[in-house]
């Protein structure tokens, strides 16, 4: 199993979720984060004092999928989250050793 971690632009959430559901992805954890990256760095003024805005609002998605579904899920996210403008986000894939569904005690692939 693989855990896919993706930072995306907040307004893309619904589209990405629909794409993933279409692939049969059954679950997702969404977190509000502040992202730092190439996109950051514009200057604002607050009460006369300049400052750098280093962080921009992003959403982080985390989902665990069977290893053979990972490729498709990454592509689905990448395609739907893309606007072509800076700050579209990143996707990372990590290996997951074990999974468990709390309600039933099912493990690994059955748990997803």
């Amino acid at each position: 199993m693989k855990m896919i971690i993706a930072a995306i632009k907040p307004f893309k959430l619904d589209e990405v979720r629909e794409a993933l559901t279409g692939l049969g992805v059954s679950g997702l954890m969404v977190t509000e984060i502040k992202g730092f990256g190439a996109q950051a760095g514009h200057t604002e003024i607050y009460r006369g004092a300049e400052y750098e805005v280093n962080f921009v609002p992003k959403l982080k998605l985390e989902l665990v999928v069977p290893a053979d579904q990972a490729e498709a899920a990454v592509s689905a996210i990448a395609e739907t989250a893309r606007t072509g403008k800076i700050g579209d986000g990143k996707i990372f894939v990590l290996d997951v050793e074990q999974a468990l569904r709390v309600r039933t005690g099912e493990t690994n692939l059955e748990a997803l």
Binding site: P10, E32, Y46, V53, P57
Partner: protein, 444 residues
């Protein structure tokens, strides 16, 4: 605001015929009885004006609560700025445009008095009063200004979350300097609508529908927010803070006692104060009726009560009673308000069906219920004629839509009125102001 300023003042005087004799009393220039009338009338305007001022805060909180958090700073900025600009421009142009005091450039249509409003001198005596039988000019100006600002507040809610700041503020200036006072002179300045017997006690049409028409025109020209309507479906964009929205509604409800009560324009006789009492009680009844109707109806229609509809329902009741808060009894007032509440519950999704995106429900509340309230005058006021009421509604509507459309279209073709798509998506707060309302709370 029962009727225009001067005639009413005359009326007030004539209602106190015997007081004149007090004049030959011993105190030259001081007449306790009629002085007291002047004082009490002025006091009514000062208290009333203060309450209507408070409505500016109510609109600000209601709208700040009903937009998404990424647009809250902008909504607050617009409300602060529009009120301040209204104060400046109603003084510079609007006040005299609205109250020609008989000096018409075009009879009954266009005031012949131009230039800034001027108050009475410091420390006046009866002789120096602009209108000794009425109230101090300062109190009248203060009171009237607040009505003008309220009109502008209505517009900001509908167009929230997508309109550029400065074009919106320019529209506000034109609305408060020209559009509102121009049409208001037709009724409250003693113009042709007043002469034909059109009745609008505190402004269901003159204030609320005008704000509503301007908002509707703007909404049509501006278009809906990105993502609001998709595949024929309405996508809810829940307000970020219903506690603020509720606070705003309570503030507006409170301010409305000044709005309707002060529009009695006199408090110096027992008849007047008893009338004001009726108005307070009726205004409250109508708001309650509107809220209860929306509560029950959303429960029945949607299986769960909808707080935002209940808030709109209370305001709908208030707008509906505004054209005639005096003559109905408590039962009829409750009913008029309740019908306002029903209207809102149906009108909000109906506008969505038409893809008219009204962020806070200002069009159902102020425009549709403003019309309803103006029509409902005929239910209790024998002097009202349905035809005249409809004429007034139509005249004001056609004028406001036309004037607003011209201004909106000029603004669109020059400055542009809509923010960039990306700015809208990211929120106006960061894009146009570089400042978040809740910088520490979760990013949206």
């Amino acid at each position: 605001m029962k009727t225009l300023k001067l005639p009413l003042a005359a009326l007030a005087l004539s209602a106190l015929p015997g007081l004149a004799l007090a004049q030959d009393g011993p105190a030259p220039g001081v007449n306790p009885a009629t002085d007291t009338v002047f004082i009490l009338n002025s006091l009514l305007f000062l208290i009333g004006g203060c309450l209507v001022f408070w409505m500016a805060a109510g609109f600000a909180m209601l709208e700040a609560g009903l937009v998404r958090s990424k647009n809250v700073t902008m909504q607050l900025t617009k409300n602060m700025a529009l009120f301040s600009l209204a104060a400046v421009f109603y003084w510079l142009i609007g006040y005299n445009l609205m109250y020609p005091l008989g000096n018409w450039a075009v009879d009954g249509v266009l005031s012949g008095v131009f230039g800034p409003g001027v108050l009475e001198a410091v420390g006046i005596t009866a002789d120096a009063a602009d209108d000794y039988s009425y109230a101090s000019t300062g109190s009248d100006f203060f009171f009237q200004l607040m009505f003008c600002a309220a009109t502008a507040s209505i517009v900001s809610g509908t167009l929230a979350e997508r309109i550029k700041l400065w074009p919106f503020l320019i529209f506000t200036i034109i609305l408060t300097a020209v559009i509102y006072p121009f049409q208001a002179s037709w009724k409250w300045g003693g113009g042709f609508l007043d002469q034909m017997g059109f009745l609008d006690f505190a402004g269901s049409t003159v204030v609320h529908s005008v704000g509503g028409w301007a908002a509707l025109t703007g909404a049509l020209i501006l278009g809906p927010r990105i993502g609001k309507y998709k595949d024929g479906k309405t996508i809810p964009m829940p307000g970020s803070n219903l506690a603020l929205a509720t606070l705003g509604t309570f503030i507006l409800w409170m301010g409305w006692f000044g709005f309707n009560g002060g529009s009695q324009l006199a408090m110096g006789s027992i008849g007047d104060v008893a009338d004001i009492s009726r108005i307070f009680a009726n205004t409250n009844a109508a708001a309650a009726g509107g809220a209860v109707a929306a509560l029950v109806l959303t429960q029945l229609l949607f299986r769960k009560p909808d707080l935002t509809m209940i808030l709109n329902g209370a305001l709908a009741g208030l707008v509906a009673i505004t054209a005639e808060p005096l003559t109905p009894g408590l039962g009829l007032s409750t009913l008029i308000g309740a019908i306002g509440g029903v209207i809102v519950v149906f009108a909000v999704p109906f506008l969505d069906k038409l893809r008219i995106d009204d962020v806070v429900g200002a069009i159902p509340v102020h425009l549709i219920c403003g019309i309803w309230g103006t029509v409902a005058v005929v239910l209790s006021n024998p002097e009202a004629s349905l035809l005249t009421q409809l004429t007034g509604i139509a005249v004001v509507g056609v004028f406001t839509v036309a004037a607003s459309a011209v201004v909106w279209i000029i603004l669109r073709t020059t400055l542009g009125i809509r923010v960039e798509e990306e700015d809208e998506v990211n929120g106006l707060d960061m894009a146009e102001l570089g400042m978040e309302a809740y910088p520490e709370f979760s990013p949206s």
